[in-house]
């Protein structure tokens, strides 16, 4: 470790831009980006499961509000949603007097809310499509066993729908990672924010942005391989024989 440290310091010693100091900014930025993306994906996923079931409901008053929500959030740019929440949250009547204000005045939470609502809308549609694609035979078999609707949902439809949704959900995760770059617009020091800071400080666009692009590329590949591994494990039963 000691040696590694010395080697690292020497490597950086004749580099004007990538000092330990600026690398620290990038590291903090990486932390912010990962926190933001991870939290919004997890919360979005939890929201999306019941919403996807509601979206496929036969009752119009359940189905239509969910459809409207996904239509609006998928049809408008995330940047607009972010602005609306970031600037709009101040105007909720009396919010500045409650404990929530301490949380919401930091840009992180409005961004988290915007990202969560956005990814929940996309994930709802992905799951809805996967649920709709359940083979009829599976449902008929469940009915023949006398399963109730809830049991059928839990034991038959959801497990197979999750697996079918996996490739599309992997794309959504990557999409979210890339979309999180706009968090830097509302003063959050995420990866892109760090790159903008380094650019502004040294006027070195290539160094600042190419470096951050390489980090994003590594993250993207990591997600890609994770999902490929998951697909291989979870979709093994769908592979052709001798494949």
């Amino acid at each position: 470790m000691e040696q590694l440290n010395a080697w690292f310091t020497e490597l950086l010693s004749d580099n004007a831009i990538f000092t330990a100091n600026t690398l620290g900014y990038y590291l903090d930025g990486l932390g912010s980006t990962v926190r933001l993306v991870f939290l919004s994906l997890i919360i979005g996923l939890v929201l999306a499961v019941p919403l996807a079931i509601a979206r496929g409901s036969r009752r119009k008053w359940i189905k239509w509000p969910v459809f409207l929500y996904t239509y609006v959030f998928r049809g408008t740019p995330l940047l607009i949603q972010l602005y609306l929440i970031y600037y709009g949250v101040v105007f909720i009547e009396g919010i500045q007097d409650t404990f929530l204000w301490a949380i919401l005045k930091d840009a992180f939470y409005p961004a988290l809310i915007a990202f969560t609502l956005n990814t929940a809308a996309y994930t709802t549609e992905i799951f809805h499509g996967a649920i709709k694609a359940t083979p009829r035979g599976e449902i008929e078999a469940a009915r023949a066993y006398g399963m109730s609707r809830a049991l059928m949902m839990r034991r038959i439809i959801m497990p197979s729908a999750f697996r079918r949704a996996l490739p599309a959900y992997g794309n959504e995760v990557i999409f979210m990672l890339h979309a999180s770059a706009i968090a830097s617009v509302v003063t959050i020091m995420d990866l892109t924010g760090a790159a903008r800071f380094v650019y502004a400080r040294f006027y070195a666009p290539f160094d600042a942005f190419l470096f951050v692009a390489a980090i994003y590329l590594c993250l993207t590949f990591a997600i890609l391989y994770l999902f490929r591994y998951l697909e291989k494990k979870l979709l093994a039963h769908l592979k052709p024989l001798n494949g």
């Binding site: 408008t76 607009i80 600037y87 890339h178 770059a181 892109t192 790159a195």
Partner: protein, 238 residues
């Protein structure tokens, strides 16, 4: 026209800028996409390698980062190139990378990669017997492309192209970040000046939804056009 505290006309201008950026970058993306698809399908390994590198790199990096790289770095890069031209060949030109060009080129470049994947799949979906039939009629390669491959490929490509267009449309909002006065930027400026986010952001969101709905209709019409001869028997029976 709706006044919106005097910002109405400017927002309308901004909406036009948004449309301009979207349509121009769509054209660039379509051209790049066709080139990428043919490079990926070509038998030459170098073309194949370059196209794969392009689509992989572009799809691995956020749009905003690429846009900033091109906008902030592009001018320096272009200046270095024109300086070199001047010293080497005594050619004195000045190319100005403004927000508009940077936006259009970046978005076109990004979506060229996505379009390339769409087109590649669509070309592969055209039955090779069709191309052989064209050859048997003595058609030249260009004529085969124009009369046989392209119309049939479009049938398979249209759903993907429609999707890409919707994503592209929403991506145009990012040009506001590098300083182009599209409707998002004007709405953001108006919000900062008047502290009324809902008054400006909601109309902008509605315009995006409107453009998306109109494009959905256009894509459906196009689909009908390119699907001629496939599964429209009902109309004839009635």
């Amino acid at each position: 026209m709706i006044d919106l505290q005097g910002y109405g006309p400017r927002l309308l201008e901004g909406a036009l800028v948004t449309l301009e950026v979207a349509v121009l970058s769509l054209l660039l993306a379509l051209i790049l996409g066709l080139l990428t698809a043919s490079a990926k399908l070509s038998r030459h390994w170098l073309f194949h390698r370059i196209a794969t590198l392009y689509t992989t790199l572009i799809r691995g990096v956020p749009d905003l980062v690429l846009m900033m790289l091109l906008f902030f770095g592009g001018q320096i890069g272009v200046n270095m190139f024109t300086d070199w031209l001047y010293y080497q060949f005594d050619v004195d030109i000045f190319i100005n990378i403004n927000e508009f060009i940077a936006g259009v080129v970046t978005i076109g470049f990004i979506f060229g990669a996505y379009m390339g994947e769409t087109f590649r799949g669509a070309f592969l979906a055209v039955d090779s017997g069709q191309i052989e039939a064209g050859r048997a009629y003595g058609m030249s390669n260009r004529l085969i492309f124009r009369r046989i491959q392209f119309p049939q490929m479009m049938r398979h490509a249209l759903p993907g192209l429609g999707n890409n267009w919707m994503v592209l449309l929403k991506t145009t909002a990012l040009v506001s970040v590098i300083g182009l006065s599209d409707m998002v930027r004007i709405a953001a400026e108006a919000t900062k000046a008047t502290h009324e986010p809902f008054l400006f952001m909601i109309p902008v969101a509605v315009v995006y939804l409107l453009i998306a709905s109109v494009s959905e209709w256009i894509v459906a019409r196009l689909q009908k056009h390119y699907n001629v001869g496939f599964g429209e028997a009902d109309e004839w029976n009635n």
